[in-house]
Symmetry: C2
Subunit: 383 residues, 2 copies
């Protein structure tokens, strides 16, 4: 049986948009109570994602509305303060809401981080997520929907490793592939390949039988190849990009590009799909789920319509895709890329490390409540 549930807990509160000082570690935060349809999870590990930083800094403004500095896809921002961030939660069921199955008590699982707007399994048009529109896992406890806390019992996978397989990166990556209709045997370029979405894309391409190529830095190439990349292109070398990629693919254009970079690079990525249209049997497809280089890509419209390019904007994925990913996790098909764990009380150190870590490092950073540190964090602490 789980331990008795306390009245208060340790948690990191985001108190407003701004710098690290807006992240405040407290030990007097009320423990939430599960309602019907929910379970209370005692957190053992929560992975960090770039989206937490962008939400804190207010980078999600997408309109000419200065107020809308967070996700506001549903019409108004859902990020209110104080908020507990942290999307990719792993832990054990500590209590269940009215009518929920008590047999789940003590069960280990992974949270599907989405706040789904509808019951539809095939589409998710108003993305929001735990840690943004509701409290997340940078805390000792979190309340989540019963049907989105997926049991994963595999004892060879540590809790911190399971958190590193979290949906925030993997579901986005998988939806980038499904939205672009990627088929077995297709050559797929992945840009910004060393991040959480990028490393997920490499693995998922291999699972579905596609051939992943990565754009990243030479220092990260060995690790990316070990994950499954067929070849790695130096992202800083912009000369003869098409020729260099063609040399790697055996002369054929990429069938599709999964782009997390944007900016001036996007045109090169498209040209690496369109330089030989006679060799193609499908439309060139560009999935975009980020724009780390620049938020504006100046692409000649003639390049898009004469070469029949299809550009697919991706933000999160669907219930069906989350469940498919859990299936692959349970089957041992996905490999965690975990770099380091930090105690929850060291959240500022963790944030600084996440942003500043040296080139050559890739993988997820995981946050573990201090009370769980010895068991779930210490084995993955930085040397």
């Amino acid at each position: 049986m789980p331990n008795p549930i306390p009245q208060t807990m340790s948690a990191v509160l985001l108190t407003g948009h701004g710098g690290l000082d807006r992240l405040v570690y407290r030990d007097d935060v009320p423990v939430p109570r599960p309602e019907a349809g929910q379970v209370l999870v005692q957190v053992t590990a929560t992975a960090k994602n770039n989206t937490d930083r962008k939400a804190r800094e207010g980078h999600y403004s997408t309109r000419d509305d200065d107020e809308a500095v967070s996700f506001a896809i549903g019409g108004k921002p859902t990020l209110t303060f104080p908020r507990i961030q942290g999307a990719d939660v792993v832990g054990t069921v500590a209590a269940v809401g009215d009518g929920m199955n008590p047999a789940r008590l003590g069960e280990r699982g992974l949270l599907d981080f989405n706040i789904y707007g509808t019951g539809r399994r095939d589409i998710n048009l108003v993305p929001d997520y735990f840690g943004h529109g509701a409290d997340g896992g940078f805390a000792e406890y979190v309340v989540v929907p019963d049907d989105q806390f997926h049991a994963v019992t595999d004892p060879t996978l540590a809790d911190a490793e399971l958190a590193a397989l979290g949906m925030c990166s993997y579901q986005t990556a998988y939806h980038m592939l499904t939205a672009a209709d990627i088929h077995p045997g297709e050559h797929v370029l992945i840009t910004g390949a060393s991040g959480g979405v990028g490393t997920a894309l490499i693995q998922l391409c291999r699972i579905i039988g596609a051939i992943p190529y990565a754009s990243s830095t030479p220092a990260k190439a060995p690790a990316l190849c070990e994950l499954g990349a067929q070849a790695v292109f130096d992202r800083r070398d912009t000369r003869d990009f098409v020729a260099r990629t063609a040399a790697a693919t055996g002369g054929v254009p990429f069938d599709a590009v999964m782009d997390l970079v944007g900016g001036a690079s996007t045109r090169r990525f498209i040209e690496a799909m369109t330089f030989d249209m006679v060799a193609r049997t499908t439309y060139p497809r560009l999935s975009i789920a980020g724009a780390s280089e620049s938020n504006v890509s100046e692409i000649p419209w003639t390049l898009i319509y004469l070469y029949q390019v299809r550009i697919v904007g991706v933000s999160h994925g669907t219930r069906a895709e989350a469940e498919q990913l859990v299936h692959w996790i349970r089957a041992g098909r996905l490999r965690p890329v975990l770099q380091a764990a930090f105690p929850l009380s060291a959240i500022h150190d963790c944030e600084r490390y996440f942003v500043d870590r040296a080139a050559g490092h890739l993988g997820k950073v995981v946050v573990v409540p201090d009370a769980q540190w010895a068991t779930h964090g210490a084995p993955f602490a930085l040397a």
Copy 2:
């Protein structure tokens, strides 16, 4: 039986890239001979398209290659000189190639203008067309593939009217709709609605059960509404665009936009799809097949990926779509929008009229060989 076929014919030769002086009317051009798989068509009417002007002026440069000033999707330009332009050809079968069905002699038909690169019916990745990669219909005779000259016998449709239903506009329009997966009941905005593709889009939306809205000029609104447009927005009025469109749709966002304009307008068109994501049940879709305003659209990438916009570049369509359109023409479902006919020898006047015609005029301009003028051109001459 058709008349005996002469050795030479009248035709307009495009002698190089440049101005109107590159279009030369001659009466000593050899009549081509059909080979196996081909028929010889005696031309009665050929519709003009903007693509002819762009090809003449050399506007199809899409690479950093100054030589590639024409369609070069297959890797190298296929436009060589002299070339007879004119894509949307109507006429009668005057001779058939070896092994072709002689029963076709005298049959009236419409050319599917594509030069298809493969036998595939479902995709057309290397667009090229008669009048560009091979000789077209600004002549008395033209040789075309037997299986792309589609019989249309409806006697209520004059030859010039049938030419006004030509594939260059209609197939592009139809592919814009199919590529964006338009369904019955969907609200579809059509920009640049008074052109050949735009008027085709309005009619095709109604045929498939979608609700078309047009962006154009007030002078053209009555004609566009008569063709089927639910409402017409003044394209010069950029203020409160989203609010004005929402007032017309009953408050819901457009499901999709068929964009022929590009440039700074594109962001407004996207916002008219994304202003209320909770009301949506499908991804916002933007089909683009032209960019009359500007070839570069500066769209924030966050707008594309957070709102999950899908952008589809369209150039021509597929064999299956051409055959569907012919089916609708034979069934009397499409209405020609014909404005004027010119004799072939007046090609310069025709070109100037095509470019300069006053606001308020819409519809196709058709060219008729001088020998056919009395029967096929004169009834549609300008007053």
